[in-house]
C-alpha cells in the first residue's frame, strides 16, 4: 500500500498549534459541564472523527482535540459559552459524511460536538398539521418509518442515503427524490431552535413566538437564512438543536414494501398508486423540453435525468457487476433519458390521468418508453422515494468527486453539465485518465415542477491512486477558477464553502462581503467552526 492509500491523522501533539496547557484547561472545563463519560481526548476515539467520505489526499485527515457528546440544548449552550470564554473552536456534526470538509477539524483547539448520539429524538410528529420536529441525530430512515405509520412521507432522502441526518441535511442542501413535487429541502424547513455562536438561544419561524413549529417564517426579518442556503454555514453561525420539517400525505403502504435480501433487495410499490417510467429521448434538448412540459402539466412525483454512471452504480451489487454491465454498455444505451415516477396521490384515477399526459408529452417529443430489462426500477428507482444509493457511487473505484452542483433553471442546468459541451465535461475529459471512465455524468434534477433544477456532474476517482486523487483536486480547482474567470460561476456556490467563498463572492454580487459581516456580528470570538461560512482574515491563525 502506498502512503496515500492509508493517509491518517497525525497525533494532535505533532501540530505546531497544539498547546498542552490550554488543552488541559479545556478538558477540565468540558468535564465539569458534561461529566467524564461524554468527553474524550483519547486518540483512539478522536481518530474516528478525522475524516469525511472524501478520499485522503484530497483532504488531510486531522483529529479534533476533543469529541463531546452533549445530551441537551443546555449542554450545547454551556459548551458554546465555554468556547467563547476559553477561545476554542466548535465543530458540530451529525452523520459526519459531508464531503466538503465542513465536518473536519482544520486547526488546533477544535472540539467536535457529536450531536447525533444523545440528541436523537423525534420531538414531535404532528400528523394533523403534517410536520415533525427533530433533534440532530434523527435519520431520514427513522423519521420516514414513523411518518409512514400515520400516512405521511418525507420528500425522500438525499443522495447520501437515508442514514443521513434530517436536520443537518436540510440545512445543507438535500436534493431528495421527490423534489419535483415537494421542492428543495431548505425550503421545507419550518421552525428551528439555534444556539448562536455566543451561546444565546433563539427560536425561528413560528417557534419564535408560539413555541409551535408549524411555519417557517417568524416576526420581523427572517433569520432562518442564517442556517440554510447554498453555501451552508456548517455550524459557522451557530448550532441548530431542533428543526421542524414538512411532511406530506402518503397514499402507499404503512411499512416500506421491501422484498429480498441484502444486496438484492427490491421495493415493490402498489402499481395503482405509483409507476416509474424509463423514457429515452432523441437528444439532450428534448430531455429538457420534457422536464418543462411535465412541469407545466403539473404532473410527476419524481423527475430525473440520470447518466449511465449513476444508473449503473446505484443498481450494481458489486464492483464486478458494475464493470461487467459497464462493458456491456447497457445503461449507456439508455442515454439521453428521463426517469419519471407518477403517483396517484389522491386516487388511482390521478395516476391514470398523469400517465395519459406523460404519454402525450413523450410522443410529441419523439421519445420512447424503455423496457426495464434489469429491473432497475425495483432495485433502484423506487427506493429513491425513501432512500438513495449514493454511497454506492464510491464502489467502482473507491471514491468520486464533483463539479457543477448548483441550483439553476432546467435549461441552464443542462447547459452547465451537458456531455462534451460543458466546462465540467471538458475539464474532466482532460484529466481522464487518471480519472476513471464515467460516460460524461450529467444529472438534471427537476424541482417544484421544473421551476428550477439542480445540475450535477460527478466523476469517478481511483482512491488507491495518488495520481487519480491529485487529478481530481486539480480538475475541481481548474473548473472553479475557469468558471470564475469567465464570470459564469455555475457550480461554484455549493462547493464554495469556507475559504472558497472569498473567490466566488467578487463575481457573484459580492455576497462574501455581507456574509463576512454576518459572521463578524454573530461570532465575535470566531469560535463557531472557523473558517465557515467564511473566514475573517484578521482572526485567522498565521500559517
Amino acid at each position: 500500500m502506498s502512503k496515500m492509500e492509508l493517509l491518517a491523522s497525525e497525533p494532535i501533539e505533532a501540530y505546531p498549534d497544539y498547546d498542552a496547557k490550554k488543552h488541559l484547561e479545556i478538558k477540565e472545563a468540558l468535564i465539569r459541564i458534561l461529566g467524564p463519560e461524554w468527553v474524550s481526548d483519547e486518540p483512539e476515539i478522536t481518530q474516528a472523527y478525522s475524516r469525511d467520505w472524501t478520499a485522503p489526499g484530497i483532504l488531510e485527515p486531522r483529529r479534533p482535540e476533543f469529541v463531546v457528546l452533549p445530551g441537551s440544548v443546555e449542554d450545547v449552550r454551556a459548551i458554546t459559552k465555554l468556547a467563547n470564554r476559553l477561545k476554542f473552536n466548535l465543530l458540530p456534526i451529525g452523520t459526519g459524511l459531508c464531503g466538503l470538509a465542513g465536518t473536519l477539524p482544520n486547526r488546533g483547539c477544535t472540539v467536535t460536538v457529536d450531536l447525533a448520539k444523545r440528541m436523537n429524538r423525534i420531538i414531535r410528529l404532528d400528523s394533523k398539521n403534517m410536520y415533525a420536529v427533530v433533534e440532530p441525530g434523527v435519520t431520514y430512515a427513522q423519521l420516514h418509518a414513523e411518518a409512514l405509520k400515520v400516512g405521511l412521507t418525507l420528500s425522500g432522502a438525499p443522495e447520501a442515503g437515508a442514514q443521513a441526518k434530517v436536520l443537518a441535511n436540510h440545512l445543507f442542501f438535500a436534493l431528495t427524490g421527490k423534489s419535483q413535487r415537494y421542492g428543495h429541502a431548505p425550503h421545507r424547513i419550518l421552525g428551528a431552535e439555534i444556539v448562536l455562536p455566543d451561546g444565546e438561544l433563539i427560536c425561528l419561524g413560528s417557534a419564535a413566538t408560539t413555541n409551535e413549529y408549524f411555519w417557517g417564517s417568524g416576526p420581523g426579518p427572517d433569520l432562518i437564512g442564517l442556517i440554510r442556503g447554498l453555501t451552508c454555514s456548517h455550524g459557522g453561525l451557530g448550532i441548530v438543536t431542533k428543526l421542524a420539517v414538512k411532511l406530506y400525505p402518503w397514499p402507499g403502504p404503512r411499512v416500506w414494501p421491501v422484498e429480498g435480501y441484502i444486496p438484492e433487495k427490491r421495493v415493490i410499490l402498489p402499481k395503482d398508486k405509483f409507476r416509474w417510467y424509463l423514457i429515452k429521448l432523441p437528444s439532450e434538448e428534448k430531455v429538457i423540453e420534457a422536464i418543462y412540459e411535465i412541469g407545466r402539466s403539473e404532473i410527476g412525483y419524481a423527475v430525473h435525468h440520470f447518466c449511465a454512471y449513476y444508473m449503473n452504480t446505484w443498481w450494481a451489487k458489486s464492483c464486478e457487476e458494475y464493470w461487467r454491465t459497464w462493458e456491456e454498455g447497457y445503461f449507456q444505451k439508455l442515454h439521453p433519458s428521463l426517469a419519471v415516477c407518477l403517483a396517484g396521490l389522491t386516487s388511482p384515477k390521478q395516476l391514470e390521468y398523469e400517465e395519459k399526459i406523460l404519454k402525450q408529452i413523450v410522443e410529441e417529443l419523439g421519445g420512447e418508453f424503455v423496457k426495464d430489462e434489469k429491473n432497475w426500477i425495483e432495485y433502484t428507482a423506487s427506493n429513491w422515494l425513501l432512500d438513495a444509493q449514493g454511497p454506492r457511487m464510491h464502489r467502482p473505484s473507491g471514491t468520486y468527486s464533483l463539479f457543477a452542483l448548483d441550483i439553476l433553471d432546467p435549461e441552464w442546468a443542462d447547459k452547465v453539465t451537458r456531455p462534451n459541451e460543458s466546462l465540467g465535461d471538458k475539464v474532466r475529459e482532460k484529466y481522464t485518465p487518471p480519472l476513471v471512465d464515467d460516460d460524461h455524468s450529467h444529472w438534471i434534477h427537476s424541482i417544484e415542477f421544473g421551476h428550477y433544477a439542480v445540475g450535477e456532474q460527478d466523476f469517478l476517482v481511483e482512491k488507491s491512486s495518488l495520481e487519480s486523487v491529485k487529478a481530481s483536486m486539480q480538475s475541481v480547482m481548474e473548473y472553479i477558477t475557469t468558471a470564475l474567470k469567465e464570470g459564469s460561476p455555475c457550480g461554484v456556490p455549493q462547493m464554495a464553502s469556507g475559504r472558497l467563498n472569498e473567490f466566488a463572492g467578487p463575481v457573484m454580487g459580492n455576497y462574501h462581503v455581507w456574509l463576512r459581516k454576518i459572521k463578524e456580528a454573530f461570532d465575535p470570538n470566531y469560535v463557531a467552526n472557523p473558517p465557515y461560512p467564511i473566514p475573517i482574515p484578521e482572526k485567522e491563525p498565521k500559517p
Binding site: L6, A8, D387, S465
Partner: protein, 414 residues
C-alpha cells in the same frame, strides 16, 4: 474490457474483489455510516433502528465499524499505538456482523474480517486477548473447552435412554456450550434424532472445542489447531454428515474453517434445524402435541448473516432465515410473530466475540434490548437456535419472557 471503455481503475482490485486484505479494506471505508443502522429500507421505527450494539451502548463513533476502520488506518500507518484502549474498543464488539452486511450492501468490503485481523494484531502486541479471555484460552488448551470443565465429562448430559451408535454416517458435534452449560439443548437434539430414527454417533473423546472462541478473540493458532483436530477426527470416523446444534460451531465449520485451514472436509455440515426441516418433509418427524404458544424468533448471528461464506454481490444466510421459521410455523399451536429487526437486520443477543466473558454488563444490556423488542410483539416466548444466544437472553430476561432453543419446542411437540 471493450474499447469503448477509456479509463479503467489501474488497480484491478476495483474491478473484481480480490479476497480479504486488511489494508485494502480499511482504506476502502467511505465513512458513509450505513454500518450504524439496520438496512435503511427495513427501518420500521425510531426505537429499533440501530444495528450496532457497541455503538448504541458506548456512543462515540470509534465503537462503530467506521471507527474501527479508522483505528485500523491509524495503526497501519503507525499513527496510533496498539494500546489498551484500542483493545477495549475492539473487544467491546460482539462480532455480530450487523455492520458487515450493511457495508456489503454498499461496498465490496468485509468489516468482521477487519475486526478479527485487528484483534490478532492486539494479541501480537500483547494487549489481547483480555485477561478474562486468557482464562478460557488456557482452558481450551488444557481441557479442550473454554469452561474449565474436565474433558472426560463432555458427554455427561447424554440421557440414559439414548444410545449413540458406535459408527454411523451422522456425527452429532455437541459443542462446548451445549455440553457443559446448556445440556437441555443437547438432550433435546439427541432425543429428536432418536425420535426420527436417525443413527448418529458422537466423536468423544476426539471432539474438541470447535475453535470459534479462540478465533474470535484473536488467537488464531489455537483456533486452527482445534478445528484441524476435529476435521481430522471426523474424516477418520468416516461420517458423511456433521450435525451441530450450536450456531457458533456451525459457523466455524462452514465458514471460518475454510479461512484458516486447507484441510479437506470429507463431510457436509448441517445445523440441526436443516436436518429437522428435511426430516419433517420426509415425514420422519411428526408433531403430535399442540403447544399453544405465541413466539418470536431471534436469528443467531452465526446462523444467519454470518452462516455462509460471502460472495460479493450475493446475499448470505438466506436459507437459515427461512428454515427455523418454516419449522416453527409447522408446530401445532405455535403462533410466530416477528420482531422489527430480523434476518440480516437482527439485533445481536450480545454474547458473542468474547463480550460475555470480558464485558458481562454490556452483554446483558444488549440482550435486554432484544428482550424489549421481543416484548413489543406480544410473544410469550423468544426462540433461538444457538446455546450461546439462549444463555445470554435467559440471563437478561429473568422472568419477563420465556426463552427456548428451537430444539426444545420441537421435542415438546413430537
Amino acid at each position: 474490457m471493450s474499447s469503448a471503455v477509456k479509463a479503467l481503475p489501474k488497480d484491478k482490485r476495483w474491478l473484481k474483489y480480490p479476497g480479504f486484505d486488511l489494508a485494502w479494506n480499511v482504506m476502502a471505508c467511505i465513512r458513509c455510516s450505513r454500518c450504524y443502522y439496520v438496512h435503511t429500507w427495513d427501518v420500521k421505527s425510531w426505537r429499533f433502528s440501530e444495528i450496532c450494539p457497541s455503538l448504541k451502548r458506548y456512543m462515540f463513533s470509534a465503537y462503530s465499524a467506521q471507527g474501527k476502520m479508522d483505528i485500523g488506518i491509524a495503526i497501519l500507518t503507525g499513527k496510533l499505538k496498539v494500546s489498551q484502549k484500542v483493545a477495549e474498543i475492539l473487544y467491546k464488539c460482539t462480532l455480530c456482523g450487523g455492520c458487515d452486511v450493511m457495508c456489503k450492501d454498499t461496498m465490496d468490503m468485509e468489516p468482521v474480517k477487519v475486526f478479527e485481523a485487528l484483534r490478532e494484531i492486539c494479541v501480537k502486541e500483547g494487549v489481547g486477548p483480555l485477561p478474562q479471555h486468557k482464562r478460557f484460552i488456557e482452558s481450551i488448551e488444557k481441557n479442550f473447552n473454554p469452561y474449565n470443565e474436565p474433558h472426560e465429562k463432555r458427554l455427561e448430559w447424554m440421557p440414559k435412554d439414548v444410545k449413540p451408535a458406535e459408527k454411523a454416517d451422522v456425527v452429532y458435534f455437541v459443542g462446548c456450550t451445549s455440553a457443559y452449560r446448556r445440556p437441555e439443548i443437547a438432550q433435546a437434539t439427541v432425543r429428536i434424532l432418536k425420535a426420527a430414527k436417525v443413527d448418529f454417533m458422537m466423536l468423544h473423546p476426539e471432539e474438541y472445542c470447535c475453535g470459534g472462541t479462540a478465533l474470535r478473540v484473536g488467537v488464531r493458532d489455537l483456533a486452527k489447531k482445534m478445528i484441524e483436530h476435529n476435521i481430522e477426527a471426523i474424516n477418520k470416523s468416516g461420517a458423511k454428515t456433521v450435525v451441530t446444534s450450536c450456531a457458533g460451531c456451525y459457523n466455524m465449520f462452514n465458514v471460518k474453517a475454510r479461512e484458516i485451514t486447507n484441510m479437506k472436509m470429507n463431510f457436509k455440515v448441517l445445523h440441526i434445524t436443516e436436518l429437522i426441516d428435511s426430516l419433517i418433509k420426509e415425514g420422519r418427524i411428526k408433531f403430535t402435541r399442540e403447544l399453544g404458544l405465541k413466539v418470536t424468533y431471534h436469528d443467531p448471528c452465526h446462523l444467519g448473516r454470518l452462516s455462509e461464506p460471502w460472495t460479493p454481490g450475493k446475499p448470505v444466510g438466506v436459507k437459515h432465515y427461512e428454515i427455523p421459521r418454516r419449522i416453527l410455523s409447522r408446530i401445532p399451536g405455535v403462533e410466530l410473530v416477528e420482531m422489527e429487526r430480523i434476518k440480516e437486520n437482527a439485533w445481536c443477543c450480545g454474547a458473542g466475540g468474547g463480550v460475555k466473558a470480558a464485558y458481562p454488563e454490556f452483554a446483558e444490556w444488549t440482550a435486554k434490548e432484544r428482550i424489549e423488542e421481543a416484548k413489543t410483539t406480544g410473544a410469550e416466548a423468544l426462540v433461538s437456535s444457538c446455546p450461546f444466544c439462549k444463555t445470554n437472553l435467559k440471563d437478561a430476561a429473568e422472568d419477563e419472557m420465556k426463552i427456548y432453543d428451537i430444539t426444545e419446542l420441537i421435542l415438546q411437540a413430537i
